[in-house]
Structure formats: C-alpha cells, structure tokens
Amino acid sequence: MALSAGAAHERAEAMWRPRANRLGLWLFFASEAFLFAAFISARFVTSGTDKPDALNQPLALAITVVLLASSISAYLAETSIAHGDRKGLIRYLSITIFLGLVFLVGVVFEFREAVEYFPPGTIYGSNFVALIGLHGFHVFTGIVALAVALGLGKKGHFEPDDYWGVEGVVKYWHFVDLAWVIIYPTLYLF
C-alpha cells in the first residue's frame, strides 16, 4: 500500500528521531567529557597525587553513595514510564531530585571545610574548588532539568512510546554520576 508523503515523513521521523536525539546527546556528553578531563588533568599536572590530610573522607564517601543511589532512582523513573507506570515516574523522579539536593548540601559542607583547611589560594585548594564547583553546577542544572521532567510528567506528558524528555534528562543525570565516579578518586583517593 502506498503511503502519502506526509505519512511517509512521519514514519521516517518516528524511526530516526530517537536515534538522532541519542547521538546528539552522546556528542554533547563527549564535549562535556573533554571539559571535565581538562580540570582533572590540571589537578594531576599541578599537584601530582598529593592530597591534604584534612580531607573529609567519610563525607566524600557518603555523598558518593547518595549520588549512586540517585542514579538507581533515576533509572527506575525512566524504566517506570517506559512500562506505562506514571506513578513510578513521579515517585522516582522526586526521590532523585531529593537525593541530588542532599548531594549539594554535602558539597556545601565540603566547600566550607576546603576554605578552612586548603583555601583556593593553594594549588590543591584551587583544583578542589574548581572541580567540585564545576561538578556541583552540573548537579544543580540536572536537578532543574529533572524538576521540569517531573512537572511535565505530573501534567500527563510522556507515554511508553514517547518519553524522550525523561530519557534525555535521566541520561544527563547518569553522566553527572559518571563524572563523579572519576572526580571522587581524583580528589580524595589517589
């Protein structure tokens, strides 16, 4: 059966749009990775693997666990809407936002201790503040994006066959988590 030009365009759009969206997002992640790589390499170039004894290891481990936990709740939010569970989407997006805020509170405590024990005027301190600040800003923008997706989800947007808005935001959140997986040992463990 012959398709009209409009129907053929819609079919091609439905087939290729998700792939194009994903490819575009991954290219964005690649450009972001270069930015993080520059800051991470600066830490090693300027201060080797030295780190101050005053680093708050329990706090860093705690916020790392919080961010990992937020990744599983983000995954569950995406999985929920992919299987038609809107209540699950709203519940897990709310949990993810809450855990993201807890992480940011931890970052604020880190900043306070950094200023006291290794201020930005020192080599390690400047690297610490730059990396934590860069990542913290990404967490903040991720929370804003998650909140937008939550609001749209509450209004009835997204369906199992059309949830790119959730998928994109959740992938961004996982990227922020992935960046922390590298930043955590870079600043605290090496």
Binding site: P18, R19, R22, L23, W26, T49, Q57, L61, T64, V65, L68, A69, S71, I72, A74, Y75, L76, T79, S80, A82, H83, G84, D85, R86, G88, E159, P160, K171, H174, F175, D177, L178, V181, I182, Y184, P185, Y188, L189, F190
Partner: protein, 71 residues
C-alpha cells in the same frame, strides 16, 4: 488516555538496575579501602573507576542503543 502498566517487564528491569547499583556500591566501598590500605593504589583505583564507569554507561545510560537504535 489510560496506559496499561507492563508490571512483569518493569519488575525485571528494576531487578537488573538494583543488581547494577549493588555492584556499584560494592566497588565504591572496595575503592575506599584500597585507597586507605595501599601505599600506591593508583592502578587499582583506575581499574575500579573504569569498571564503575562501564557499568553506568552500559546499564544505566544504554550506550549500546546509540549503535543499535530503538528502545
């Protein structure tokens, strides 16, 4: 419009996600003790960070979909 919830598929995917999260938690704790316990933990920490990164990209970010397409 009411959408039917695929409870069986949802449970299976949720179980997979939780298994991955448990592995990430275990690797994070191992990472911490390796850093605290070893004099030169660099190689071990690089390996553990790479393992955690692969788990996140493969199971949470579905990096393979970029090459395959579709959900």
């Amino acid at each position: 419009m009411t959408t039917q919830v695929d409870a069986v598929g949802l449970r299976a995917k949720a179980r997979l996600g939780i298994r991955v999260a448990v592995w990430l938690a275990v690797l994070t704790v191992v990472e911490y003790f390796v850093a605290v316990g070893l004099d030169s933990p660099l190689v071990w920490l690089l390996f553990l960070a790479a393992a955690k990164g692969w788990l996140i990209m493969r199971y949470f970010m579905h990096v393979n979909e970029v090459f395959e397409g579709g959900h």
